[in-house]
Symmetry: C2
Subunit: 199 residues, 2 copies
C-alpha cells in the first residue's frame, strides 16, 4: 500500500490555508507542552504550523485564546441539546442530556483534553480563564432553562449545580487511567449531587 503524505506544513503560502485553525491549535499544544506556555510565542506557533503570524491572528486574538476556541463549539452543542430536550424533561434531566452530548464530543478528544488540561493546570492565568469559561457556560445554561420556562432562581441553581457535577466528573475523567467514559462519570456525579442534596 502506498501512502501519499501531503506535506502542506512546509508547502508554499497560498491565500487559503487548509485547516489553518486546527494546525495552529496542534502546534500551540505541542509547543506549550514542550517548552511551557510562558516561553512560547505566537511567532513560534505560526512557524511550527507552517503559517504566518498574520494568519494566526485571523483565528485567535492572542496566545491564550488558541486553548479556548474549541470550547465554543462544545458550549453550543451542550446548550442546543438542553434547548431541544423534551418539554416534559425536568431542568436537571434536560441539563444531563446536554452534558452527555458534550461528553460524547470530549470522549473523541481525550488525548487532546489531557494535554490541554496539563497546560492549564501549570498556569494560574489559564486556570482563571478556564474558571471564567465554565462560569459563562453556567450562565448560558441558566438562560436556556429560562427560555424553556424554568423560573428563577431554579434555573440558575440547576445550571450551577449541573456544571459543578460536570467539573467534578471532568477532573476524574482526566486523571483516570485507561479509557474511562466521561458520559458515565457525569451520570455518577449527577447521582451523587442528588444524594448530597436530598432532604
Amino acid at each position: 500500500m502506498t501512502v501519499t503524505v501531503i506535506a502542506y506544513h512546509r508547502g508554499p503560502m497560498t491565500r487559503w490555508e487548509p485547516n489553518a485553525s486546527g494546525r495552529l491549535t496542534d502546534a500551540a499544544l505541542e509547543l506549550y507542552s514542550e517548552h511551557g506556555y510562558g516561553a512560547t510565542t505566537v511567532a513560534e506557533i505560526a512557524a511550527c504550523a507552517g503559517l504566518t503570524e498574520r494568519t494566526y491572528f485571523r483565528y485567535f486574538a492572542d496566545k491564550r485564546e488558541v486553548l479556548f476556541a474549541g470550547a465554543e463549539q462544545l458550549r453550543n452543542l451542550i446548550a442546543g441539546t438542553v434547548q431541544d430536550a423534551p418539554a416534559s424533561a425536568t431542568p436537571l434531566d434536560a441539563l444531563a442530556a446536554g452534558l452527555r452530548a458534550g461528553a460524547a464530543m470530549l470522549q473523541q478528544r481525550r488525548a487532546l483534553s489531557i494535554r490541554r488540561q496539563a497546560i492549564i493546570a501549570a498556569n494560574p492565568e489559564l486556570q482563571e480563564r478556564e474558571l471564567i469559561k465554565l462560569s459563562s457556560w453556567a450562565a448560558t445554561l441558566a438562560d436556556v432553562l429560562r427560555r424553556r420556562g424554568t423560573p428563577e432562581p431554579a434555573a440558575s441553581l440547576a445550571a450551577e449545580a449541573a456544571m459543578a457535577a460536570f467539573r467534578v466528573a471532568f477532573a476524574r475523567w482526566i486523571d483516570a487511567p485507561g479509557e474511562p467514559q466521561l458520559g458515565e462519570m457525569i451520570g455518577e456525579s449527577l447521582a451523587q449531587l442528588r444524594a448530597v442534596t436530598a432532604a
Copy 2:
C-alpha cells in the same frame, strides 16, 4: 451633650495609625464609587484616608485587593462554622450553618456590600477576581467537609452546590429593596436547590 471628634484623618503622621485598614477601605469605596475604579490611584486613596501610599501597601498588595481583604474574615467564619457543626449534621446542613453565620456578618455590612457590589459589577477585571474568590471558597468548604469525614466527590459537589445557592441568594439580597434578610434568602435558595435536584 458634648461630642469630641478626634480628627485622626488629618492628624500628624505617627508610627501607629489607628484603624488604617478600615480607613483605607472606606476611602477606596468612596473614590471608586465616585470616580470609577479605573480612574482612581492608590495615592488618591491614601491621601483621602490621611495616610501615605507606603502605609497603603503595608495592608494591600494593589488597588484591587482593598476590595477583597474583608472576604478572608468571612471565609474563615463560614469555614469555621462548618467545621464546628455537629458530627451528625449532613454535609449540606453543615454548609447551611456556615452560610447562615456568614449571612449574619454580611447583614451588618449591607450598605457597604451594596456599594462594593456596584463597583465590581462595573469592571470585568473585578468580576473575574470575585469569581476566583468564590471558587476558592468552594474549594475551602470541600476541604472542611473532607476533614469532617465526607468522601469525594460528595464533598466537592456539596460545597459547589451550596456556593451556588449562596451566590444566587446574595445577588437577590443586593438587589432587593428595604431590609431583606440574607440568612432567610440563603435558606430559600437551599430549599430551591433541593427541589431542582430531587429525583
